[in-house]
Amino acid sequence: MPLRTLVEAINDALRCEMAADDRVILLGEDIGREGGVFRVTEGLQAVYGPQRVLDTPLAESGIAGMAIGMAIAGLRPVAEMQFMAFLYPAFDQITNHLGRMRNRSRGRFTCPLVLRAPCGGGIHPPEHHSESGEAILAHTPGIKVVLPSTPYDAKGLLISAIRDPDPVVFLEPERIYRAVRQEVPDGLYTVPIGQARVVQEGTDITVIGWGAMLREVNQAAETMRGEGVSVEVIDVRTISPLDVPTLITSVEKTGRAVVVHEAPRTCGFGAEIVAQINERALLSLQAPVERVTGFDTVFPLPQLEKYYMPTTARVVEAIRRVLAF
C-alpha cells in the first residue's frame, strides 16, 4: 500500500471522488494550472479539465457565494480558501447563508459543498498565514467542521465531506502537509464525520488534541510512558459535531484530562471540551482539566513562532501537573 503525505492523500481524495461523481467541481485561486499554492490540487485540471477545476478571480466571498449557488443547483463544489485567514472575507456567506439555507427553506434548498482551507502555524510564513479559526466555525450553526491529523484520515474524511448533504469546512493543518507519511489505500473509502479516534489507549490520563498538535501530543505520551505513565491519546478529527461520548468514556476511565490546541486560549475549542467534561464526567475527575493552547495574541512572525505553539514540553508539564493534583 502506498505511503502518502497529507497533501497526496487530499489530492487522491479529490481525484477519486471527481472520477466517481461528475457533480464534483473544484474552484479556488490558483488551483488549476498552478495546482494550488501547496500543490494539493496538482494534476487535477489536467485530468478533469478547466470546466471542473476552476481557477477563480481573487474573491473569497465570491468563491464561497458562487459555490453556494452551485450547490443549490445540485452540483458538489469543493471550494478552496487559500489560507484560513482568507476564509474570513467569506464569513458573511458562511454564517449568513451557508449554514442557514437548509433551515431557512425548511429543507427545500441545501448546500452540499466543501470549503477547504489550510490552517495552523509552524511553516514560518509572513503574517496571516498561520491562523486557527476552528472555534469560530464551530460556533456557527448549520455547518460541519473537520480537521484531520493523518493522511489516512484526511482522505477518508474529505470523501465523507464531499458526500455529506450539508456544508463542511475542511481544515488542513499546513505544518504537517508533508511532514508525515502513512499508508493510504487507493480507491474510495470513507472515515465518518463526527467520530473521534482513540490513537492509543491508556489508563492514567486522557490527552485530547487535533490537527498538527497530535505530533506534540504523541511525543508527550511517549515521554510519559518512559516515566511509567499510561496516556490515552484522542484525536478529535471532527470539531463540529464533536464526538462527546468518546471523550467522556475516556475521562471516566482515566479521571484526568488535558486538551491541546494551537488556537488562541480564550474561547478556544478546548473550552467547549472542558465544558462538556464538566457537565458529564465531573464526578470522575480527580483533577481539573487543563488546556495547553496558543495565546490570546496575534500569531507571531517566524522569529517568535516557537514560543507561541504548544510544544511537547508544555504538554508534558501540563500532564505532570494534572497527575500531581
Binding site: 464526578l283 475527575l285 480527580q286 483533577a287
Partner: protein, 422 residues
C-alpha cells in the same frame, strides 16, 4: 452615597461575631473612623470604626445577635436628606427599522462605580477543599466536610478522609451555626432553664471536637517534689512585691518547661498534616490556660526563654487580667508553641488536659500536695506537685514525652539547676 457596610474578617479567618454593644444609634451622625460597635469574635472583643462619615441609617444586627463575615452590619447614609428620584421622561414611540422594540420604564439602580465610599471587600467564606466526587461522597454519607481533617495535598480532603470521618465510632456533630438550631423535642422531666451558648463557648466546643477527633492524645502523669522550689518562691515573693509583682510558682514552671523544651525540641512543635511533617519551633511562646467567667481562654506569653522571672510574672498578671475582662487582643491569643494548664490553682491532682492543636503537647499542673513521702530513706512531709503531660501520639512516643517530663521535673525539683539555665 448610602453604604451597606458588611462585617469584615477582623482577624485571620474569623467567620462570625456576636454584637456586644452598639456605640451609635440610628439617626446619629458619625465621623470617619468613629467607633460604631463592639463585636466579640472567637475570644477577642473587637471595636469596629465607621468606614465613612455620614448618618447611621440602620443598625442591621441587634446586640446579642450573631453576624457572619460578609453580612450587612450597618447602613450609613449621606448627611442630609436623600435626593428624590427624578421623574422618568415619557416613553418615546417605538422606533426600529425591523422588528419591534419593547419600551421599558424600568429605572436601574446606580452603577457601583458611582459609589464614593470604597466598596466593602467580601472575604471568602471558610473554604473546604475537596474535589467534586469527594464532596458527593460526603453528602451521600452524611459527613460534614468542615469537620473532616484533610490529609491530601494543600489541605485537601481526600476520599479516605471522608470514609474515616464516616466511621460510626466517630460521630460527626454539626458545626455550630448562627441560625437557630432545631429545638429538641420536649423530653424534659421537670422545669428547665435555657442557657444559649456564647460565642466563646461555641468556639471552645468546636476546637475541642477537632482536637478529640483528629489528634491521638495520650497522657502520662508524674509527681515532683517541689519543696525547695516553694521555699524559693516564698523567699522571692517579698522582693517581687516591692516591684509590685505578684510572684507565683507559674513563672518558675514556665522556665523549667522552656529549659526542658530546649532539650526536647519535638515537644515544642506543631504537626503539619498537609505537608506530613513536624514543625519544630525555635521560639518559645507558652500559652497559659486561664479560667475566665465566660470560659477557658489561653493567653500566650511570648519569648519566655528571653524574659526574667519577674517579667514573666508581671506579664502573666497583665494578660490574665485582660483575659478575664475580655479585653485581650487577638495577637495575645495566638502563636503558642506549648501550653501549660495550671488547673491546680483551682483544684485537682491528675487530669487529661486537651491538646491545643496544632501543638503536640500540653502540661497540666495540679494542686500542691503536702504528703508523706520517702525522702532520703526516711518518711518526711514534702510538697508534691502532680503533673499530667498530654502529648499527640501521632507526633511523639511515650518515651520521648516521659523523658521531657523527667527533665521538667529535674528542674522543678532542683531550683539550683534551673538557675543555671537562666
Amino acid at each position: 452615597m448610602v453604604l451597606a457596610f458588611r462585617f469584615p474578617d477582623v482577624g485571620e479567618g474569623i467567620h462570625e461575631g456576636e454584637i456586644v454593644r452598639w456605640l451609635v444609634h440610628e439617626g446619629d451622625s458619625v465621623r470617619l473612623d468613629q467607633p460604631m460597635v463592639e463585636v466579640e469574635t472567637d475570644k477577642a472583643v473587637v471595636e469596629i470604626p465607621a468606614p465613612q462619615a455620614g448618618t447611621i441609617v440602620r443598625l442591621a444586627v441587634r446586640e446579642g445577635e450573631t453576624i457572619q463575615v460578609g453580612e450587612v452590619l450597618v447602613v450609613i447614609g449621606e448627611t442630609g436628606a436623600p435626593a428624590q428620584p427624578a421623574a422618568l421622561p415619557p416613553a418615546p414611540a417605538s422606533v426600529s427599522v425591523v422588528g419591534s422594540l419593547d419600551i421599558a420604564l424600568t429605572e436601574l439602580p446606580p452603577a457601583p462605580e458611582m459609589a464614593r465610599a470604597t466598596p466593602a471587600v467580601m472575604p471568602p467564606a471558610r473554604r473546604v477543599l475537596a474535589i467534586p466526587s469527594v464532596r458527593k461522597l460526603a453528602r451521600d454519607l452524611g459527613v460534614d466536610l468542615t469537620m473532616v481533617t484533610p490529609t491530601g495535598p494543600h489541605g485537601r480532603i481526600r476520599r479516605e478522609d471522608v470514609l474515616q470521618a464516616a466511621k460510626p465510632s466517630q460521630p460527626q456533630p454539626q458545626r455550630a451555626s448562627s441560625t437557630a438550631p432545631v429545638s429538641p423535642p420536649a423530653l424534659e422531666h421537670g422545669p428547665v432553664e435555657y442557657q444559649p451558648l456564647s460565642a466563646l463557648r461555641r468556639t471552645i466546643a468546636r476546637t475541642m471536637v477537632t482536637a478529640a477527633t483528629t489528634a491521638v492524645p495520650v497522657t502520662t502523669t508524674d509527681e515532683v517534689d517541689v519543696t525547695e522550689l516553694v521555699a524559693l518562691r516564698e523567699r522571692s515573693a517579698e522582693a517581687a512585691a516591692v516591684q509590685q509583682v505578684h510572684l507565683t510558682l507559674l513563672p518558675f514552671m514556665m522556665k523549667a518547661v522552656v529549659a526542658a523544651l530546649q532539650q526536647h525540641p519535638t515537644l515544642n512543635a506543631s504537626l503539619d498534616e498537609a505537608q506530613q511533617r513536624l514543625v519544630l519551633k525555635r521560639y518559645y511562646h507558652l500559652g497559659i490556660a486561664t479560667d475566665t467567667p465566660e470560659g477557658l481562654i489561653v493567653p500566650v506569653v511570648k519569648t519566655v526563654d528571653q524574659k526574667s522571672l519577674l517579667t514573666l510574672a508581671s506579664e502573666l498578671a497583665h494578660l490574665t487580667e485582660l483575659a478575664r475582662t475580655r479585653r485581650i487582643a487577638l495577637p495575645d491569643l495566638q502563636g503558642g508553641t506549648f501550653t501549660i494548664s495550671n488547673y491546680g490553682a483551682i483544684g485537682g491532682i491528675f487530669a487529661t488536659p486537651m491538646l491545643l492543636l496544632p501543638q503536640v503537647a500540653i502540661l497540666g499542673v495540679g494542686k500542691l500536695l503536702r504528703k508523706p513521702v520517702v525522702y532520703h530513706e526516711e518518711i518526711a512531709v514534702r510538697t508534691l506537685l502532680p503533673l499530667s503531660l498530654t502529648f499527640d501520639h501521632r507526633a511523639l512516643d511515650g518515651a520521648e514525652a516521659q523523658r521531657f517530663l523527667n527533665t521538667v521535673m529535674t528542674y522543678l525539683a532542683n531550683p539550683a539547676r534551673l538557675l543555671l539555665t537562666l
